[in-house]
Symmetry: C2
């Protein structure tokens, strides 16, 4: 988005509930884009204060002190806490927004104007996110709010997409497979290597290369290994090697069969 | 390795059996490092000829025409074919080397001097490998041969490590988990997204970020998602969403349980 376009977007005033990893990065990014962060709430006052200082906001650990007489109330808390927080907030004309992939928008039903602002990334306190590349999924109960939220999200990211409850649920499920589960396979691989005095760095270039290729090609076209070659001899040998590790054995067997099914 | 050191390494003469992806890249790299490729064998003559032209070698599709009166005979063929090829070659003073991770060195038992030269990477014809970063695992029946092979491998890669049959087997098994299986999880994730009209690119930044972090931290420290949070509500919802997809259901269940077990 060009600077001139940015100038057309009216900065919004935002009260932020939550001071976790997502709130930490998103509040600072919205502040950097010229929006006003009025308040930061966290149950731990020090946490709220630390973030509030960075974005020129006031800090509170009392939900009742959140002034909802503002443009947006951004609820960036754990999924399980969204409804409780929403119910505890005074309803006004503000747009009440949660930031969760898997929580439905109706957790905010107490309020007339409801929205979802879901950046699909795994945030950590150590590293600065590259917002340009982070897909942001938007939903709202009113079309005008979808438009405003989209315009503001576009000042942060090049990839802003509307997504309803069902689509966000499926996105989150897909992310669990592609991200959480594949990371767990790295954990299992490292355990195998460690037992044989081999460093994880031995297989890191292989992982890097596969993910490099993923930028330009579909994963289905990149599948390699004994399963897709139907290399029964190697598969049997590997299963034998895992004979005393029932969890790895079952995982190997299931994923091998799944690869064979997928490509037949 | 410095240029002066390189000058100390006597170039070797190499006959190469096989013209697949590994042979394609390794022959060219050895040639570029100043070694002499005498012959390229492939059952498909055109394939042998194409590679032979690039490395100044002669091409043949007749194993009996491989002149084993040379320094190295590099057998870069499918695991299943190594023994047959080895048996078909005249034994001389040459060092007979295979390039497989999972095949034992004794498949070359016909010959006095046996070696293994295993670059752990998934090669493709489209992209040029970054040899500097590719770990090369070395074994040989004679210690002097391990030394020479190591020195030559070090002119190609910064990561050259001795590894016996058992270690290479375990490396290969770990690579199947970390690479083949995780790629399959990307395939499963894409299928979920496609069904919901969502592009794979929506979750690519998440995958990239996790693999970026993997360069600096252990996968165990990077685990995120409902399983490690013991977020039973989300896990149950996901399983419900997969109710009509038994393969995905079983995979989700097994890997979730495995994450829980691993971190408890």
């Amino acid at each position: 988005m060009e600077k001139e376009d940015l100038a057309l977007i009216k900065p919004v005033e935002i009260a932020v509930v939550g001071a976790g990893k997502l709130s930490w990065h998103l509040s600072q990014k919205l502040f950097a884009q010229g929006h006003t962060i009025t308040q930061i709430f966290s149950r731990q006052f020090e946490k709220a204060e630390k973030l509030a200082k960075l974005v020129g906001a006031s800090a509170t650990n009392d939900l009742a002190k959140i002034n909802t007489n503002t443009c947006w109330v951004l609820i960036a808390v754990a999924d399980d806490a969204i409804e409780e927080v929403s119910e505890a907030l005074n309803s006004r004309e503000a747009l009440f927004i949660h930031t969760s992939g898997s929580a439905p928008i109706n957790l905010l039903n107490k309020h007339k104007r409801r929205g979802v602002f879901y950046p699909l990334q795994s945030f950590s306190l150590q590293s600065k996110p590259n917002w340009n590349n982070i897909p942001i999924f938007i939903d709202a109960s009113k079309n005008e709010d979808i438009e405003v939220m989209t315009a503001i999200a576009q000042t942060i990211s090049n990839s802003v997409v509307p997504a309803n409850d069902k689509q966000r649920e499926q996105l989150h499920l897909a992310a669990v497979f592609a991200n959480n589960f594949s990371n767990h396979l790295f954990v299992l691989a490292q355990a195998i290597l460690k037992k044989n005095n081999l460093p994880f760095s031995a297989i890191l270039p292989l992982i890097n290369e596969t993910v490099n290729k993923l930028q330009f090609d579909e994963p289905k076209n990149l599948q390699t290994g004994p399963a897709i070659r139907n290399d029964v001899k190697t598969i049997e040998k590997h299963l034998e090697m895992l004979d005393d590790k029932p969890e790895l054995y079952k995982t190997y067997q299931l994923l091998t069969q799944s690869i064979i099914n997928q490509h037949n």
